[in-house]
């Protein structure tokens, strides 16, 4: 593959997934600059490790969501250590006002998704992430299994269990009203 073909292949992956990855972070952070930084960090990591990506082992989406999860986990760990919000990873440019407005709109649009994630806090972490990847990010259960590094066969069971628990939570809430 020639240089321009390599770049074109990666650009296709970027363009196909950047929206979903941005929304993934927009459900977790309300600071548009931070959403932009985490999205950028995810793709920087993807670009520098693209040589290890093997399409035979999983889709580009599941690979990228796997990286996004690690990126967010690293950010959360750093935030917890320093006891404050950690902005910046690696000298990224400040977004201009148009970009900030775009990301604010996305953060706003993800409000229902954030609310769902808050409800899911009752669930074990893996089940919560499985529900998010399949029902909010649009990944196939197989892709979600690849992103989470769990056996594909176990993914449907986890999803079924998670949805059953979620229904029970909603039923309890309705009953309590």
């Amino acid at each position: 593959m020639r240089d321009h073909e390599v770049l074109a292949a990666f650009e296709r992956i970027y363009r196909d997934n950047v929206g979903a990855i941005t929304r993934f972070f927009a459900r977790r952070c309300v600071d548009p600059q931070l959403v932009g930084d985490l999205t950028a960090d995810t793709f920087v990591r993807a670009m520098t490790s693209y040589a290890t990506f093997n399409p035979a082992k999983g889709s580009a989406s599941s690979w990228l969501f796997g990286i996004a999860r690690h990126t967010f986990a690293a950010h959360a760990e750093q935030s917890a250590k320093s006891g404050e919000l950690v902005r910046r990873v690696g000298g990224r440019r400040e977004l201009d006002s148009d970009e900030l407005a775009e990301l604010e709109a996305r953060i706003d649009a993800e409000r229902p998704g954030r609310a769902l994630l808050e409800r899911l806090t009752e669930l074990p972490e893996l089940e919560r992430e499985a529900v998010e990847l399949v029902h909010l990010c649009g990944l196939a259960p197989r892709e979600a299994a690849e992103a989470l590094g769990v056996p594909k066969g176990a993914m449907r069971t986890r999803l079924y269990r998670a949805m059953a628990r979620l229904r029970a939570v909603v039923d309890d809430e309705v009953e309590a009203r």
Binding site: M1, D3, V6, L7, F10, E11, Y14, R15, V18, G19, T22, G36, T39, A40, F43, V44, M47, T48, S49, Y50, A51, T52, R92, R93, L95, D98, E99, E102, L103
Partner: protein, 182 residues
């Protein structure tokens, strides 16, 4: 595409595009070395076989035979197909050789018709000299093929690669070469 997404792509390409290309080039180099390593292992087993990663660009012919000024010919193999046509092409260039497939279901009786050639460490008497700088290519020295023998070139497509073998046969020619481990 939004402005954020377009600007981010421009930034990524500018700041990290080179790293991506370098890593991909390293991966390609590692893969080639792995193929050569695999070939060495096969040769140790005595098959006289070499493996090479193959080119699937579409346009180049499956094989090409070119005459060299020193009387040798250069055979370039891109894809394993049309063994009879390959044999005819070699003969047209004055090479007493046949091209046959390596097959899992090939009888071991066929194997015993061949005297293998050491491909990775050829000496001045070897009729086949592999070009280690372009592992799709081999130089064939027709004058080194024993007078009473024919050169047998064998090949198989393995995934995205090719595996080659070479040897001499006398009398009845093999129709195929059994695959190692089959």
């Amino acid at each position: 595409m939004s402005k954020f997404e377009d600007n981010l792509w421009a930034e990524l390409q500018h700041e990290h595009g080179q790293a991506l290309l370098q890593n991909m080039a390293k991966r390609q180099s590692r893969r080639t070395k792995r193929w050569i390593g695999a070939a060495a292992a096969v040769v140790v087993l005595g098959t006289g076989a070499l493996a090479a990663s193959t080119y699937f660009g579409g346009a180049p012919p499956a094989y090409a035979v070119v005459d060299n000024p020193d009387g040798s010919v250069t055979l370039t193999v891109r894809e394993v197909q049309a063994f009879e046509a390959a044999t005819a092409e070699l003969r047209k260039h004055g090479i007493r050789a046949i091209a046959v497939p390596i097959r899992k279901d090939c009888s071991w009786d066929e194997w015993f018709k061949i005297e293998n050639i050491q491909l990775l460490d050829p000496d001045q008497t070897s009729a086949v000299e592999w070009n280690m700088d372009d592992i799709y290519q081999m130089k064939i020295h027709p004058e080194r093929i024993p007078a009473d023998a024919q050169l047998v070139l064998s090949a198989i497509q393995r995934g995205r690669g090719l595996q080659f073998g070479a040897g001499y046969a006398r009398g009845e020619m093999p129709k195929c070469v059994p695959m190692q481990g089959s």
